[in-house]
């Protein structure tokens, strides 16, 4: 088998495995966070969690697939490993960026949710009796 084909196959195997691992981590650990954001509404948290993971898969696998093409021939196994490391490194960086982007979305959702229940910014000046209208 030519070196290029082996490199492509190894690249795909590593990238897809990494994507699945990161998505799995996100899915498992993001759930607790989302349940808190949605005030214990577990079905909603699970649904949003699932939707986020689907988006994560689509973007990452899309990138992996677009970045597959090498564009030049490989003369030796050494060049194959070097090309592979560049490709996998790029995938790792994209995965990292996506992961932090997801964390950012989680923390923003959480901040919004805590804001809704936050107390007034200042203490009252006085108290008075209120008669219902």
């Amino acid at each position: 088998m030519p070196v290029e084909i082996i490199t492509y196959l190894v690249y795909l195997a590593i990238s897809i495995a990494l994507t699945i691992w990161v998505a799995h981590t996100l899915h498992q650990n993001g759930r607790v966070f989302l349940v808190d954001v949605f005030h214990g509404n577990e079905p909603l948290a699970d649904s949003v969690n699932h939707l986020l993971v689907v988006g994560f898969y689509l973007i990452n696998l899309g990138y992996v697939s677009l970045a597959l093409k090498l564009g030049y021939n490989l003369a030796s196994a050494q060049e194959g490993i070097e090309a592979l490391s560049v490709k996998v490194g790029m995938v790792l960086l994209v995965l990292g960026a996506m992961h932090f982007f997801n964390l950012f979305i989680f923390s923003r959702m959480r901040r919004r949710a805590t804001l809704r229940n936050a107390p007034p910014p200042v203490a009252p000046d006085a108290f008075t009796a209120v008669r219902e209208a």
């Binding site: 936050a118 007034p120 910014p121 200042v122 009252p124 000046d125 008075t128 009796a129 209120v130 209208a133």
Partner: protein, 121 residues
């Protein structure tokens, strides 16, 4: 907190404009806008001293907590979804003195501002 009653000055064009703007804003806490010294204001808050309310914006919660002037403005911001974060920012020890100064300046000159901005219909 279930609602905030805002006692506003119906004679000032700026206040009426702000009133219109407030009605369009998404809110965490509903705002009930009542003109100052109106029958409704007297009826809802029979024990409140209504004289200072015509000088400064007054906000009263449904639990009876009263906020005057700059604090009332901060409470109005706090009720709005888009500006709740700003209410904390402006109420921080670093910014509160500036907030007080700016709010009381606007409050004192509200008729002039209305006239200049052509809001006094």
């Amino acid at each position: 907190m279930l609602s905030l009653t805002v006692l506003y000055d119906p004679l000032c064009g700026l206040c009426r404009r702000v009133h219109e703007w407030l009605e369009e804003q998404p809110k965490f806490v509903p705002l009930i806008l009542v003109p100052v010294k109106s029958d409704e204001a007297q009826r809802c808050f029979p024990h409140l001293d209504h004289d200072p309310t015509s000088n400064d914006l007054t906000v009263i919660t449904n639990e009876g907590a009263v906020y005057f002037g700059p604090k009332a403005w901060l409470m109005v911001l706090w009720a709005l979804c888009r500006y709740r974060e700003w209410s904390y920012r402006l109420a921080s020890p670093e910014l509160l003195p500036t907030t007080r100064r700016v709010v009381s300046l606007i409050s004192r000159h509200r008729y002039q501002i209305s006239r200049i901005a052509d809001l006094a219909r």
